[in-house]
Symmetry: C2
Subunit: 560 residues, 2 copies
């Protein structure tokens, strides 16, 4: 079967724009002689539309757009996701359209409601299946999570006679997910005896990034085609079909399976079998961050970004990703030395900026800092401000970034990493200030890996940035490692506590010092109020701070 895969980046809320693009995909597939075109889950609304779904005007616009798209179809079958209101509830559904009409609607059976997902908040699960019976082939349709359960819709539809199943997705990226997905889909294909067309969306959406990597697997579970990661793709693939066979005994258990006769047009020209190689390790995460930043900027109307360049590894990486995502000419770095700043904080930043070709301004903050101390002295007398002094410097810098944003429209990109966000080693309204926190889900040790990876592409980040000891430079001689465990240990403990949700005893039993574990857990727990006010940033691990990890601020639970 000749199938067009439209791995496209749909924009949340852009119902008319998305509809235009879906029609464009249909026309392009039609022109290429495909028999079926497949687009992502909730292609009409973008994913996830969140509480827009509670507004009737939005849901109605999505229904009208879906009808309009269906009206544009000819003998090519189009499969795409939309929100289907029915009987007073909403379904996360696939429309199967042909010859100017919606021939059938499949409503997602399995609604994810864990991690970043809240689908039970909006949708009611479907219970019916649809098989589409043509002379050439019988096919089925399902949506995203439906594929993840061994005896779920793919098995049912396979048993009922499907030779190929179109599984449409908005499957958020995390490291290693491509492998996980391909193993899972291979099992499903073999179990069901069907080939599978796995069509994923691509693009950045607030805290999520979708990696594409759409797949075609044959009924033996072998990868027949794979689309690239982190970019839009449109390919017409000759999808191999599974055998024509029906498992009658199983069918009795399967619930309602509706059968709809369809006529498939003749395939006009041979399709292809593209197999893009998935990215690995740091290259994959780097590409995810580039797309996340580019899409956040583009979809929110920003062309330029500003960031504070401290001479440290975090801001160096953010500037570099910024240049790759938006173009070097669209990145502005502010060098904002204080009296505690080292000379290399400026010289390293300048070298980085030259290498990248980005613009910088240097603004010494001593004057503003002194005026704050004067103001406070006037009110409170001569007192040692301590941590307040450190935070003031960070906040002056945050204010300057924001002033540039307010005046010139730049997106402020915050540079803090996941390790800092975890332990609260960042200043609220200071270095945490910004519209997007690009490294929010990247541990400090991974920041180094990403820099070293990027330097293998072209040497842009000065070696001194990668070798000097990390320091916030907010007081004389300050070094991160004076107050935190070594980053390699810290990041491992954080991984166990944050991503694995292990308790204190289990972490200690994994081989970490009691004192270190207690320190880290205490710091993480105490910083929840800061994280709650952090900008969004892209999820690249199995558990990111934000919608993926929802802890109370008011919380007396302590592991120790």
């Amino acid at each position: 079967m000749k199938v067009a895969l439209a791995q496209w980046d749909m924009v949340v809320g852009d119902v008319s724009g998305n509809a235009t693009r879906i029609i464009e995909a249909i026309e392009r597939a039609d022109g290429a002689g495909a028999q079926v075109v497949v687009l992502p889950e909730l292609a009409v609304t973008g994913y996830p539309p969140e509480d827009l779904l509670l507004r009737r005007s939005f849901v109605e616009a999505n229904v009208e757009a879906t009808s309009k798209i269906a009206a544009q179809t000819g003998d090519l079958v189009a499969v795409f996701g939309f929100v289907h209101p029915s009987g007073g509830v909403l379904h996360n559904a696939a429309a199967i359209c042909q010859n100017g009409e919606i021939k059938a609607v499949y409503s997602k059976h399995l609604l994810p409601n864990y991690g970043v997902f809240d689908e039970d908040r909006y949708f009611t699960a479907g219970t019916d299946h649809h098989l589409f019976v043509a002379t050439e082939a019988t096919f089925g349709v399902c949506v995203c999570e439906d594929a993840w359960f061994p005896e779920g819709p793919i098995a049912v539809q396979g048993d009922a006679g499907a030779q190929v199943i179109f599984n449409i997705n908005a499957s958020p990226f995390h490291k290693g997910k491509v492998v996980e997905r391909e193993q899972m889909l291979a099992e499903r294909a073999r179990r069901a005896g069907t080939s599978i067309v796995y069509l994923n969306t691509v693009g950045g959406q607030d805290e999520l990034v979708f990696d594409g990597a759409s797949l075609v697997l044959n009924a033996q579970g072998e990868v027949f085609s794979r689309l690239p990661q982190f970019e839009e793709a449109f390919e017409v693939v000759d999808v191999p079909l599974g055998p024509r066979s029906v498992n009658r005994s199983r069918q009795l258990l399967a619930g309602s399976v509706n059968r709809t006769a369809v006529g498939l047009r003749r395939a006009e020209a041979p399709g292809t079998s593209v197999v893009a190689q998935p990215l690995e390790g740091a290259a994959e995460v780097y590409a995810a961050l580039v797309l996340a930043l580019r899409d956040y900027a583009r979809k929110n109307g920003f062309t330029k970004m500003v960031l504070g360049l401290s001479g440290g590894v975090d801001s160096a990486l953010v500037a570099t990703i910024g240049a790759d995502a938006l173009g070097a000419g669209n990145v502005l770095g502010l060098l904002m030395p204080s009296s505690f700043s080292s000379s290399h904080s400026v010289t390293d930043s300048e070298e980085l900026a030259r290498n990248l070709g980005i613009q910088t301004h240097t603004i010494a903050i001593a004057g503003a800092y002194e005026s704050y101390l004067e103001m406070l002295k006037g009110a409170f007398g001569e007192v040692e401000m301590g941590i307040a002094e450190e935070n003031l410097q960070a906040r002056i810098r945050g204010n300057l970034n924001m002033a540039v944003s307010n005046r010139y429209g730049h997106l402020v990109v915050a540079t803090g990493n996941k390790s800092e966000m975890a332990v609260g080693y960042a200043t609220l309204y200071g270095d945490m200030a910004g519209g997007f926190a690009l490294l929010k889900d990247v541990f400090k040790t991974e920041v180094y890996e990403l820099c070293r990876y990027r330097n293998t592409v072209s040497q842009v980040i000065p070696e001194n940035v990668l070798t000097k000891p990390p320091s916030a430079e907010l007081r004389p001689g300050q070094k991160d490692q004076d107050s935190l465990p070594p980053y390699d240990v810290l990041d491992q403990v954080l991984d166990l506590y944050v991503e694995e949700d292990l308790g204190r005893k289990e972490i200690i039993a994994s081989g970490y010092e009691e004192a270190v574990v207690d320190q880290v857990l205490r710091l993480v727990d105490r910083a929840e109020y800061k994280r709650r006010q952090a900008p969004p940033g892209p999820k690249v691990t199995t558990k990111a701070f934000g919608r993926d990890r929802r802890l109370p601020i008011t919380n007396r639970w302590r592991e120790a």
Copy 2:
């Protein structure tokens, strides 16, 4: 039946502290000669524990605490909420304990997953019922949402023979909910032919405030006892029993109803029938805000608060609530005039502070403001900064509040109201800065109502604060009404758009000018990125910004 109602304020995460308090309630009920003591939903963990539930160490501690509590029971029956892990899933459950053991566990049937609730994220619904059969009476137990469906657990248990049902709750407050709840419970009682003991928790928890107002209704749906709102209460009530009757025909439909024989101790002394009057209008919301602030401070370890006093109505109300919640001696007001500030901004604030008896410091911000302009001029030349200049003033004030917090440990309370939060008429990292945003869910028109209400208790807010036109005073002669619709119109449109989720056409059809509606909707949509970084604040309406309203930042949907 003589029942002790322990309307207590449990702390999220404080498993050992909550267990101690539950045991205290049991001892007190025992001493008062009660036959049954009832405590809130998830009393052991506090509500809502959110993603703490994903950590095994936490769930296990809750189970251990529950066993420990059960071990303390004698012939008094104790009913309280805990998390019940069973078969690899979690239940939001009630433990029914007596004579040193957990006699039965009831798992909540109906799990709310809308508005502020995410119970499907954590819990699996129960399917069984338990009736407890004593010589004197047959009783049932259910949890919160179970009461809200006409043919739900209360009807089933009533049909099966329950004469009284204990419904344990953590039911968040919003304006008017007491009336809504009492009407609903009266219907349930009449339908089921049982009396109902509705036991609610009380207290503030991040964005939620629980109002208590626990109730006893007889089988005719009449209020027999009502506990006070917004404070802890412990009362021993002689609960009237419904008739002994079983609806056999209905029972067949009801699913599994387990029967457990229990012996009730003899009631030693007469109980009471307290009927506290519920608060109304502004008095009710005022009390909710006092408790929300007091509990946020107390449970997070703050005794003192700081706020910026602008001479405006919002900061006047926050200071007043602060004085009522924490004591006047624990409230510090910072007066931070700029060159655009009116003279009354200082004099009105000083009068307010004298009336309340709170401490103030006055810090002129002109010096810091000039130094920012100098820094920016050095980098960008002589340019008109426009909105950037306005925001700088707000951010200097935010920084000063935070410096006081960092140095002296005060909680910074942000003063912005719901109208401002809605339309983005507030500065991120400026007047939005703080640990708690007390008026986040209070419209500007309601701010005036609350002030006028509070002045009827004692005249503390200067009349000039209530009569002068609202202004941010960030540029010469600025007035809110120059750039926003009149607040009474604005608040009505916001109510329709935010709380009612109506679309543009429906709002215009309700009688508002097209231009005004378009302006308001555009402003609300554009400010989503600011709200995402706002501090938590207490929900007092049917839809608050925060976990109650979850919209994407990246969102191209526009109603116009």
